[in-house]
Symmetry: C3
């Protein structure tokens, strides 16, 4: 246990430009904030500041996993259903539904200065809108 | 980066009285704990102490989004299906299913003394039972 | 509020051996790390290092809730659908889908030295693969 030591805290806002629907690996961008913080034993918390995109931790090995995820979510929250909220087009409300069942924030321990993700894990920003968007992530690192 | 400084920690239990199924905006109640903590750079973590309600970060602008969410979730976890666990009525097990695919806890960075949510984001307590309930949230703020 | 005090941080990796698909209560194992940390007011964050299993906070009272959850998820992400990613068998891609809509990490405040879960809440590791697996959880406790 580490105790009786002062804590380092670093916050950064990361901006990711998406090219429309799909999963974008943001692990390296988040890890760069961890490196900048210089903490060896810490917690790295990430918040996505949007409700028509989300965060998800998924496999980084086979891209087919991401394509299957996309197709499955498309059936779970279909565009051709009838929604009351449809001002921004048929992909608008499905984007909110997708975000409601995935993550808005995730907290990843930092061990020995690195994100303690598993070997096959990556952190993805999941864009749910069809048009490109500018998405903001707030990264908060606190540790020693 | 802020370092070599002592950390402030504040915990509060917030009680929300729900009027049955629906989404209740708890952002202001959580923000009040952040203000009380007096930390400028911090992490605010919220835990919901129930398994038939959940937390969700969603759009705060158009109430139609919340109604569409409710209708969609009602189809995803229908009351008229057959469940083994039905002691408390037809809305009992669907409430657990809804909570399993939404959030039990969420962590929101605090920047410049305020929750760093996006412009269109609010934190909702999603009541999944039809009857009014008393719901407890534990709010933990740690920062400097 | 507790302030001007040094913070204790403890990290431990917990290994859980699963016997195939199902929900495994890991509350006691996580609570043991909290006890070891010796912090009274803290945040306990748990990360699951896998993408074919997940974390979920659910009712600890009636085991029928867990069986209903399993059956519902089996219909939501069926094995008999057609997936592009199927190298490891029919339960492989459904496991990723299940994990995408449940939790990879959860943060639980510690009050008076104990996890501040509700009376009826437990933290479960949800194994989504049919074969037994060795699953790693990273537990991070920080507080005073």
């Amino acid at each position: 246990m580490l105790s009786q030591v002062a804590v380092r805290i670093l916050q950064r806002v990361i901006v990711t430009a998406t090219r429309g629907r799909g999963l974008y690996d943001v692990t390296a961008a988040v890890a760069a904030v961890v490196t900048e913080a210089g903490a060896l034993t810490a917690l790295c918390s990430v918040l996505l500041r949007h409700t028509s995109a989300s965060l998800v931790v998924q496999e980084n090995a086979d891209p087919a996993v991401l394509r299957d995820l996309e197709r499955w979510m498309d059936r779970l929250a279909p565009e051709d259903a009838s929604y009351e909220h449809d001002a921004e087009g048929p992909d608008d409300m499905p984007a909110h539904l997708r975000s409601a069942v995935t993550l808005s924030s995730v907290s990843i321990p930092v061990m020995d200065g690195s994100l303690a993700l598993g070997t096959w894990q990556a952190l993805y920003l999941w864009e749910h809108r069809r048009a490109p968007h500018r998405r903001e992530l707030v990264v908060h690192v606190a540790g020693v």
